[in-house]
């Protein structure tokens, strides 16, 4: 079975460049503006979209994404609304892959089977659930694969060669390499170390590897893109939303544009990379 994610990475491989993977928090600062941001991403140069499912207790996220999630929740975002955003997005875009990213509890409470059916029907392509390591595969990973959704796993600097096969076993779509031991929005990763790590992972899998956590600027994106099939940017985009808000925390005329401008800049970085396929 080929998913939109597989297709997109295959297409980009033919083009000889890495994917720009952009993270945006669903419902930040409100559902309507967030949908406008979502729709603007592909035009601005995003190749894959990660859509954050807000959670009150995001224990692997730094201050930027924590705050984005709280803005969304305070504005009334729910899982139903998040799936509704994907459905609305799909009316105008049937090619850009969407990966829902977040924590397990809101999915568990929604009901795993119902969530998978509704997500698939809405046009979701994959899931990244931070607090579900391979040890808990029966919870969501295996049912998701059966439902035809990619389950994208995080590999980290602490995932050694002995553990990698277990982490990769049920991973599909792509592998998300967390470039630092830390939370989202931390210090920028060292490109050489990242390339070495990607090379290590590639010894274990034929899946594309995207690198994220800590990438902020076009320059960093370009450096990372030289040795990986994807570069993921999150906190910087969530901060762009924050910086565009008015004093009451409401969206302004600049909000969507602020994100689009940054994405376009990052896309130029990624596309300017001399991609040496790892």
């Amino acid at each position: 079975m080929t998913t939109r994610i597989d297709q997109r990475f295959a297409d980009l491989k033919r083009e000889g460049r890495a994917a720009l993977v952009t993270y945006t928090m669903a419902g930040d600062p409100d559902t309507r503006t967030s949908l406008e941001i979502l729709k603007a991403l592909p035009k601005a140069g995003a190749d894959v979209i990660e859509l954050g499912m807000p959670f009150t207790d995001p224990m692997a996220d730094g201050p930027a994404i924590q705050a984005g999630g709280l803005r969304a929740l305070n504005a009334g975002q729910t899982m139903i609304k998040t799936l509704g955003m994907v459905r609305a997005f799909r009316k105008g875009d049937s090619a850009t892959p969407i990966v829902l990213m977040g924590y397990y509890n809101p999915i568990y409470i929604y009901g795993v089977m119902k969530f998978l059916a509704d997500a698939k029907a809405a046009g979701v392509d994959g899931l990244i659930v931070v607090d579900l390591p391979p040890e808990e595969d029966e919870e969501l990973c295996i049912p998701a694969l059966k439902a035809g959704l990619n389950f994208i796993r995080l590999a980290t600097p602490t995932t050694d060669d002995r553990r990698l096969p277990a982490v990769l076993a049920n991973t599909s779509g792509f592998v998300y390499y967390v470039s630092i031991t830390g939370i989202t929005g931390s210090a920028a990763p060292d490109a050489d170390k990242v390339h070495a790590a990607v090379t290590r992972i590639k010894r274990h899998t034929r899946l594309p590897v995207a690198v994220g956590f800590g990438v902020r600027t076009a320059k960093q994106a370009r450096a990372i893109a030289q040795g990986a099939e994807g570069v993921a940017v999150g906190s910087a985009l969530v901060n762009a939303v924050k910086d565009s808000l008015d004093r009451k925390g409401k969206a302004t005329a600049r909000t969507v544009k602020a994100v689009a401008v940054l994405v376009a800049e990052l896309a130029r970085g990624v596309r300017g990379a001399k991609h040496k396929s790892p």
């Binding site: 207790d57 139903i80 391979p134 602490t158 031991t181």
Partner: protein, 410 residues
């Protein structure tokens, strides 16, 4: 509650994946997973090593001051006019609470694993103080995460931690209480995983923590068995303890779980009342996943975690340890609750009648004595886990009592 088949023994959990029935597990980020597996292995090795136990027993006796007494609460017994009430005096441990039993074990493990840096979350500050104490004793760096609200309401413990050389990091996110402190501790751990040991303060978190903390706390129940045997020549008839995450309760309960004749009560914090803001996750929650385990949690319809409320910082948490969740479903432990007001009244009663100023946490257990003790015969032996002393709470109790003040009429 789900109906679950009764097991032959209540004391065999968890399974090798850390499950107590549907509860428990290892719901953590990949970055932490290798370390959690390493910890599980290190703990299994330590447990099998007689030298580890010997060293621990030595520190428990000579540094912590164990065994803690089991003392008859004579005037409270007379006051209620029913069951014979005993206190298990965990308040007399060095550092003033049961928390130190667990911290000693974990810090010894941190040393075995070669981790020079220790982090902890704390609510009431007792776990933070115990961790700061053991880190001082063994020469480890100590960083304690504490909600900013708790920093304000448990000032004496903040000062104690600082005096002991620990760094206290106030956490400003969320409701600024224990849940937020735990989030921040987990974030620190993810960031500093290679040199850091996370010393969790209760029977919660990813496997092996709920099991490991329980094992370290079981000394409470084991001593109680022996002491009651000596005092009365038999087992107690009922046990009662307050439940935050549930470590003092589990420590007392676990050695008695298979003695079916022993009634066991856990008391959650009902805050302003179960229909208002509270911290009673069994009474008002349902199974969900947070902080590495599946357990009863307070949450909204769409799976967002609710902020808890309790006057007691140590109980102000929207979850409970997974083994308690399992025991609640099985009905082996009966779950009750007590409000802020009831806990305050118990604080005063215990202080005036027994000459023991209890921490606000065990006051929740004391608060239910009025329902249980009077209807029991005089030979009914009831043990309350007096999990900590109340010096830390004097300021905040005085504030809550308002004009009447601490010295006012009961």
């Amino acid at each position: 509650m789900t109906v679950v088949q009764q097991p032959n023994s209540f004391r065999t959990g968890p399974d090798e994946r850390g499950h107590f029935g549907i509860y428990g597990g290892r719901f953590v980020a990949e970055t932490l997973m290798p370390l959690i597996l390493e910890l599980e292995k290190a703990y299994a090795e330590a447990k099998a090593d007689p030298a580890f136990k010997k060293e621990m027993d030595g520190h428990l006796k000579n540094y912590v001051g164990r065994p803690s007494p089991l003392c008859l609460a004579e005037r409270l017994t007379k006051h209620f006019g029913g069951a014979k009430i005993y206190f298990k005096r965990e308040d007399l441990n060095h550092t003033g609470a049961h928390k130190v039993n667990n911290v000693l074990g974990q810090i010894m493990l941190a040393r075995r694993m070669g981790k020079p840096r220790v982090i902890a979350e704390t609510g009431a500050g007792m776990h933070g103080v115990a961790t700061a104490t053991m880190c001082a004793k063994f020469g480890l760096e100590c960083i304690v995460f504490m909600g900013a609200l708790d920093v304000a309401r448990q000032q004496p413990n903040v000062l104690r931690m600082q005096a002991l050389g620990a760094q206290v990091r106030p956490v400003e996110s969320g409701a600024k209480t224990l849940k937020d402190a735990m989030n921040e501790a987990l974030r620190d751990w993810v960031t500093n995983v290679s040199n850091t040991f996370y010393c969790i303060g209760t029977v919660a978190g990813p496997h092996p923590y709920p099991m490991m903390v329980r094992d370290f706390q079981c000394i409470i129940g084991e001593e109680t068995r022996a002491q009651m045997q000596e005092a009365e020549g038999r087992l107690p008839d009922s046990l009662i303890a307050c439940i935050g995450g549930g470590s003092n309760a589990m420590g007392l309960f676990h050695p008695f779980l298979d003695d079916r004749g022993v009634d066991i009560y856990g008391v959650e914090a009902a805050g302003h009342g179960l229909k208002k803001k509270h911290a009673a996750s069994v009474a008002g929650g349902r199974p969900g996943v947070l902080h590495g385990n599946r357990t009863y949690l307070l949450m909204k319809d769409d799976g967002q975690i609710e902020e808890a409320h309790s006057i007691s910082a140590g109980l102000d948490y929207p979850g409970i340890g997974p083994e308690h969740a399992w025991l609640a479903d099985l009905g082996r432990v009966k779950f009750l609750s007590a409000t802020d007001k009831e806990a305050l009244a118990a604080f005063q009663l215990c202080s005036r009648l027994e000459g023991i100023i209890p921490a606000l946490e065990p006051c929740h257990a004391l608060a239910r004595l009025g329902d249980i003790a009077p209807s029991k015969p005089a030979d009914h032996l009831l043990v309350v886990n007096l999990s900590g002393r109340g010096d830390k709470d004097l300021d905040s109790v005085a504030k809550h009592l308002g004009d009447k003040g601490l010295g006012g009429k009961l």
